[in-house]
């Protein structure tokens, strides 16, 4: 496991030297000419003429996509994710969310549960994964500027030193994917594991893939969205 992080969230592992030039390179030409007043390693912040604070985000290089047809609900992804990224094993802290939908699907328990998604119904398992949104609501909502784009992958990651566990990012995320660790009062979210996601590696059926962002967009929301797989909203194909 050569690429296992030496440090965990909040430790210096995340604080690799990043130059403004690197940031501009990642973010592309769209911000050329703007005055970047703060560099948070991947996210820039500036004020527009109306004095409204704006942030610009590097485009993520990849995103985790989950296939409900192949998923068998073993939760090895959750164990691997929480072990690597939180240093303990927990379904709650896993950045990929299988447990929450395992038995009764995204919708939860209904009178028609026996035919609805989930192990208690039609057996279909819909995981929820971070979309690494182009305009991440979590990052934009963070009052501490603790969420930034990872220099290598562009994944929106949390600087635990800045995070105060206020939960604003959780509320801002349409899918409630960031999670406040009740033990540390720090928030966690998908880091893409530096481009080699642990969940992908540990999945025993190949149900989780780490895809090029554009390719994933095409599969999930674009022309290939009806390729035969049943598509639900979000990073699940």
């Amino acid at each position: 496991m050569k690429d296992f992080p030496e440090k965990r969230e909040g430790e210096s592992w995340f604080e690799k030297p990043r130059s403004r030039r690197d940031f501009l390179k990642m973010a592309g030409g769209s911000i050329a000419g703007l005055l970047v007043t703060a560099s948070l390693a991947g996210a820039g912040k500036w004020e527009d003429p109306e004095a409204k604070e704006l942030r610009v985000w590097a485009i993520p290089s990849g995103v985790i996509v989950h296939d409900p047809s192949r998923c068998v609900g073993c939760k090895r992804c959750e164990f691997g994710c929480s072990t690597r990224n939180s240093g303990k094993v927990s379904a709650e802290l896993s950045r990929i969310k299988v447990s929450r939908n395992l038995n009764y699907g995204v919708e939860g328990v209904t009178a028609a549960y026996a035919k609805a998604d989930g192990q208690m119904g039609n057996f279909r398992i819909v995981a929820e994964t971070c979309r690494q949104c182009e305009k991440p609501a979590c990052g934009n909502a963070c009052p501490m500027n603790a969420i930034y784009a990872d220099a290598k992958t562009g994944a929106r990651v949390i600087d635990a030193k800045r995070c105060v566990g206020c939960g604003k990012c959780v509320q801002a995320c349409a899918w409630n994917l960031p999670t406040v660790d009740p033990e540390t009062r720090k928030t966690s979210k998908c880091t893409s594991c530096e481009g080699d996601p642990t969940c992908v590696r540990l999945c025993p059926t190949g149900a989780i893939r780490y895809m090029d962002y554009k390719e994933a967009e095409k599969l999930l929301w674009g022309a290939d969205a009806n390729s035969g797989a049943t598509v639900v909203s979000g990073a699940t194909a």
């Binding site: 965990r8 609900g73 072990t83 240093g87 094993v89 059926t205």
Partner: protein, 706 residues
């Protein structure tokens, strides 16, 4: 204090008092966890002679230190209590897979000890540190599926639920506790019912800490993933594969190109499943076609199973024909969860009601499995169907049922193979309707009630292994004396796969014998199938290893349907597995360094405690003659066509010989350090493992040998 592997807390719920308290798990750590700790608590707190349905009995739901850690195949829940179907209400454990135990760990508990009896039906609600006893009067009378949904409606969709159905409520001896879609613990449903406890719901937002670094933990996982086989650690594919040196048609490693989960959307191909490809490990066991035949492929939505297990052994099917019977089309199970209900149709399921061929068999089986799972009826490891057939064939029902009741049973459906017979059968059983329903009292109790004599016990096709009322479960057909003796030491069907996960690997016998030699000291520990040799000390070591590992797995909690892993699918490892994996996982998870030998000896102590409790219950130290004997048929020679005996140890015969098995018992007792005459633990052994209090209590009762 931070604990590793363990959460450090045992939840104790007294239903009589309506109180909840917490104990320190680590006080019991010398009993490992799960079943081992439960044996200690039962020994300390429930006096021998207690009736299973008395409020003084306790029922303990146990997870071990590896449950919730992500260790492969660690999702099982161990349940220990007194067993209603046992002649002496012996202490016994039932187990269920699924996700319940892992959720319990995340809620912060290693075990739940349930005491007393609620005044009216209740369910137990566990949400992290919040534990409440809730009103279940409205849930009472519901099937298990709806009960689970009702509990999850209160607690949220993440809740994992263990519940009983109507069979458990009505104190049917053969009833289950079930969780999730298809995970049943057979035997203890009535104990929950007797306590007026309908269900336990648990949701945990916490974590399990690992003593080792995350890096080391994931590296051990990756190593283990290279060794793991298919279900029951079968390491040879059922069809020739480009990567495989061997193949065996009877293997559960069924994955291959062209074989699909046919009802998935879109269908999922199982594929080549090269053992080096970690991302196809979960595809190699396509169990639906193994359990239900090739016709099941088109019905298979996916393979399911338990938390943190990459081997998916539960077939999850969509059988649209079920809707005609008012049942939901989705049905799941594995192994005897299918064949147990199928056995109830003891003259076979034939074309019925427009269902033909393999479709009839699958539709019929699915009806039986759905009803058994919802009512929560246990099959006593498929014995209930054999008992039904015996009692019908021998005219027992005509003798013991009133003419009116006899006439009310749709025998013609049973005889003609019409699976709608299930509706009538399971309703009578689950609601204890009429004399017929006693078929679910268990074999010992029906033999008493209906005066079934030696003919019943000694009927070879009846498969009853001991007068304890339980059947063969990988016994003489599985490793000769090894399987036969393993089945003599339980208070229920042995549920032991420690030996099967090795001798059933499908590797060539010569290779297996070589590996047996490395583990047990001589290749003679293992006989070729149906080419049996006399008992020897290496077989005795194999028996002890199997009994001890089963206790170890139920304590850690790991799945004994996959562990231990003495073999692997890897040619470059010369197909060797690693029997020290359990101790590696235990040491890294808990930070308590234990060698393979130390962990085995600790589990042997736990197994001995169960033995001591059994002695107290049977009120005799002479377990050799009162407990460990088989029925007659396993030790009776087969007959040739001309009526002459085929002597035991003739190639082709798997029959055991009485004197040889007695020698085997002596050898196994010696391996454990017990008294070689009676099979009871001695004071010197008990004191050497720190169980002086056990020796003292046995001595005070006059039950210590020597």
């Amino acid at each position: 204090m931070e604990t590793f592997g363990y959460t450090g807390k045992i939840l104790r719920v007294n239903l009589s008092a309506g109180s909840v308290s917490i104990n320190d798990t680590l006080k019991y750590k010398e009993f490992i966890g799960g079943e081992g700790m439960s044996m200690k608590i039962m020994w300390d707190e429930v006096p021998a002679g207690t009736h299973p349905f008395a409020p003084e009995n306790k029922i303990i739901f146990g997870a071990g230190p590896l449950c919730g850690t992500g260790a492969p195949c660690s999702g099982r829940t161990n349940i220990t209590s007194l067993l209603p179907s046992s002649p002496f209400h012996g202490i016994a454990s039932s187990h269920m897979g699924g996700y319940f135990a892992t959720e319990l760990k995340y809620a912060g508990y290693d075990l739940i000890v349930i005491e007393g009896k609620a005044a009216s039906p209740v369910w137990l609600r566990i949400e992290d540190e919040k534990v409440r006893i809730e009103d279940a009067r409205w849930m009472w009378g519901k099937g298990i599926f709806d009960t689970q949904a009702m509990v999850a409606s209160f607690m949220g969709k993440e809740a994992q639920v263990a519940a009983i159905g109507q069979a458990g409520e009505n104190l049917v001896n053969l009833s289950v506790i079930r969780t999730g879609a298809s995970h049943s613990a057979g035997g203890h449903g009535g104990v929950m019912g007797s306590k007026n406890l309908k269900a336990i719901g648990v949701h945990g937002t916490g974590s399990v800490k690992i003593a080792a670094s995350g890096k080391d933990w994931l590296e051990l996982d990756a190593y283990m993933m290279s060794i793991i086989g298919a279900n029951n650690q079968m390491v040879v594919p059922s069809t020739p594969q480009p990567w495989a040196e061997y193949s065996d048609k009877s293997s559960r490693w069924t994955g291959r190109k062209g074989l699909f989960w046919g009802a998935a959307n879109p269908p999922v191909e199982t594929g080549e499943c090269d053992p080096h490809d970690m991302q196809s490990v979960g595809l190699r066991t396509m169990k639906a076609i193994f359990d239900l035949g090739a016709g099941a492929e088109k019905y298979t939505v996916r393979m399911g199973g338990c938390s943190h297990c990459p081997i998916r052994c539960h077939s999850q099917l969509k059988v649209p024909q079920l809707e005609k019977y008012g049942l939901d089309p989705y049905v799941a199970n594995t192994c005897v969860g299918w064949s147990g209900p199928r056995g109830v149709m003891c003259y076979g399921i034939k074309d019925f009601d427009g269902n033909t061929g393999s479709d009839a068999s699958i539709v019929g089986n699915a009806i039986g499995t759905t009803l058994a799972d919802d009512y929560g009826v246990w099959c006593n490891y498929a014995q209930i169907g054999r008992d039904l057939k015996y009692c019908y064939d021998k005219g027992v029902f005509k003798r013991v049922l009133s003419a009116e009741e006899y006439a009310s049973i749709p025998w013609s459906k049973l005889l003609s193979g019409d699976a709608s017979f299930y509706f009538d059968f399971y309703e009578r059983v689950a609601f204890k309707k009429g004399e017929f329903s006693h078929i679910a009292d268990g074999s010992y109790w029906i033999a008493q009630r209906w005066n079934l004599g030696d003919d019943y016990w000694n009927d070879k096709s009846g498969k009853l292994w001991t007068r304890g009322g339980y059947p063969v479960h990988h016994s003489n057909e599985a490793g000769a004396q090894v399987g036969a003796l393993i089945s003599c030491f339980s208070n229920r069907d042995s549920q032991n796969h420690s030996h099967m996960n090795f001798i059933g690997s499908k590797l060539p016998v010569a290779l297996q014998k070589e590996i047996a030699g490395e583990i047990f000291g001589s290749p003679e520990a293992l006989d070729a199938p149906a080419v049996y040799t006399k008992m020897n000390v290496y077989k005795a070591k194999f028996v002890k290893y199997s009994l001890v590992r089963s206790m170890l797995h139920n304590s850690l909690t790991l799945c004994n349907w996959m562990w231990p892993m003495a073999v692997s699918p890897l040619k470059e490892r010369k197909y060797r597995g690693d029997t020290s994996l359990e101790s590696k996982f235990y040491s890294l998870a808990t930070g308590i360094r234990m060698s393979e030998k130390e962990l085995d000896e600790t589990a042997a102590k736990c197994f001995t405690l169960q033995r001591a409790y059994t002695i107290m219950q049977m009120r005799t130290a002479d377990l050799r003659n009162t407990h460990d004997q088989t029925t007659e048929w396993p030790i009776t020679p087969d007959h040739a066509k001309d009526g002459s005996n085929i002597p035991q140890f003739t190639p082709g015969s798997i029959q055991m010989e009485k004197s040889d098995l007695e020698l085997g018992r002596t050898m196994v007792y010696k391996e454990f350090g017990w008294d070689e005459t009676t099979g009871a633990p001695t004071r010197s052994y008990l004191e050497s493992v720190g169980l002086k209090d056990v020796a003292d209590r046995l001595a005070a009762a006059g039950l210590l040998p020597g």
